[in-house]
Symmetry: C2
Subunit: 389 residues, 2 copies
Amino acid sequence: MRPASELINTDFKLGVLGGGQLGKMLGLAAANWHLPLYFLDASRDLPAGALAAWFSEGNFADYNDVYSFGKDKDTLTIEIEHVNTDALRRLSAEGVVVHPDPDKLDIIKDKGLQKLFYLEKNLPTTPFKLYDNHQAVLDAVEAGEWQYPFVQKLRTAGYDGKGVVIIRSAAHLDNLLDGECLIEPCAAIEKELAVIVARNKKGEIAVYPAVEMDFNPDANLVERLLCPARIDPAIEAAAKKLAVETIEAFDLCGLLAVELFLTPDGELLINEVAPRPHNSGHHTIDSCYTSQFEQHLRSILNLPLGSTVMKCPSVMVNLLGAEGSNGTAVYEGLEACLALPGVKLHLYGKANTKPFRKMGHATILADTLEEAMDIAQKVQQTLRIVSMD
Amino acid sequence: MRPASELINTDFKLGVLGGGQLGKMLGLAAANWHLPLYFLDASRDLPAGALAAWFSEGNFADYNDVYSFGKDKDTLTIEIEHVNTDALRRLSAEGVVVHPDPDKLDIIKDKGLQKLFYLEKNLPTTPFKLYDNHQAVLDAVEAGEWQYPFVQKLRTAGYDGKGVVIIRSAAHLDNLLDGECLIEPCAAIEKELAVIVARNKKGEIAVYPAVEMDFNPDANLVERLLCPARIDPAIEAAAKKLAVETIEAFDLCGLLAVELFLTPDGELLINEVAPRPHNSGHHTIDSCYTSQFEQHLRSILNLPLGSTVMKCPSVMVNLLGAEGSNGTAVYEGLEACLALPGVKLHLYGKANTKPFRKMGHATILADTLEEAMDIAQKVQQTLRIVSMD
């Protein structure tokens, strides 16, 4: 890794696989330092494209596209897991700095391997079993191995709630997805939490305050996220400790978002992780000393990590495309939404909306979490992303 | 003005005259809403160029360049005062929304007219007299009209401390600048303050907390800026009230940065104003609910104004090119600077440094102003922008 003084105003090239909203927001953080980012994704029309100084159109899952894109870069990172790790391994062997480590990415991309990793490392997670296809699951259910409700997760296709189904009764068995998968019990969950932790090559670690996630059950997407989480300080400390143990177990540089289940008896279980900026850290842009995006840059560039201190309580709401709307996006109620106090609007610039598509997010800042929650509810009632057609 | 829902994901075009660091930071604020900005300035290599979706190379002081640039825009604004207002008047007459108003800009651009405006509107300012050239000033001094020390300001050439000299004794008379100018006494000043106020077409007004400015006497540039200002709450309230009266007197939409002198007996005098985002508001990016740049967008687009609440105390330091260094900029001490807690670094991407050139700024966030001041001093001792050559 080149020293810090050689990152700015030089020919230093940081490449990012993926040009969606996470890439866009990473680019905005880098722009504060006037550090240009180079993106690889299907089309410059994607969110990161509008601001990218360099955008290579290609497929981040394709070996040749990734290799060609990466070979003149100093450092490479990702904003999505589903990239070609074989090309990343070759690039790493050829001297390009790659974070997160491609081998660890292969583990994380496969939810089966990810769960096996937690077992191996004695990290707490829900019990599970792996199956080759949906017939194998049906056989296991028939043999009485699983009680309803249970959860099926495809090992590799999952993203934003896709590839995950909850089977509540025998009547739902038709919903089982086909493919290599894992089954786990539908754990009794008090709350879902997330902790973002960062680590650089020097081994420095910085951990953000825990956040509490509320899900939209229809879309299986985070609907709002509260920071600070309404949990006991001892639970908060345990959650942060577990996040630190997890990034150390993976020996990763960069960010790791650790999603946790808090059980009714106060146990913390790892649900899954993401080795990149994450939806559960969007509030940090407006509410913490260092945004998760700046922290990701600091950690992959082996710079000192930034303070994770919270400036004020916040609620983050995802702005999803309205049900039943497909087509050119129109932001109804935008003016009324901007009139609400403390609303920070982040729109991703996706030209077309579809039901439950993540079109943006709003972070609501207030003196107290309760006040921010009230205003967040108004934002959700006010702003509707519909189609013009 | 088109309604808010027609600003995003449509063909709405917001043009900005000037592509320096203020333009860049305005572009970053607009990027949160995915609102593309169109810039006019000499070269795409300027700070705003790297992120601009559209950058027209041209001269913002040239009638034809401004007219050609502006005629297909919906709304126009500025990041520098010294633009061609005749072209803006024509564009305004042809239906383009222009903020700030070109007539008011003509008053503000000319420090003589600006002072006459304050007299006319009964807004408090230091006494002054206007002169046609330096000989006329010499004659007045010889006639005993001015006591040392006094200040000479060129009426139209001033920018970033240029066009301003302090004449401390007869020995300094050789430093007098030639050209239309104003002379004012070197007022006894307790503190220099600045208040940024925003106003939209509906007449809504939002005012930021006052800031206290410390100058670098060698460069006549703000060296650091403290928020909150260390002043009595009554003075703070009076400063905010004066800022509101000033923007109302000008009947402006957009931001107005009002620089004030606080005299030893508690009087507030307007020094000068800027109808645009301003150096004295850079801390708002990191320390207030709404940054000055987002507020400028809200106000010129006639959107509801954002909350000006402070999230935490801050000190802003300008990062100036080191004395004696001219050439390709190198950021010495960058890593040590990033290791200091709460340091938010903003680099403008100017490839070449020169003595006292504004190359960036750092905002230091902390629990208390005193702590932020300590860290700011370390930033100033740590980061040096020198030339590679």
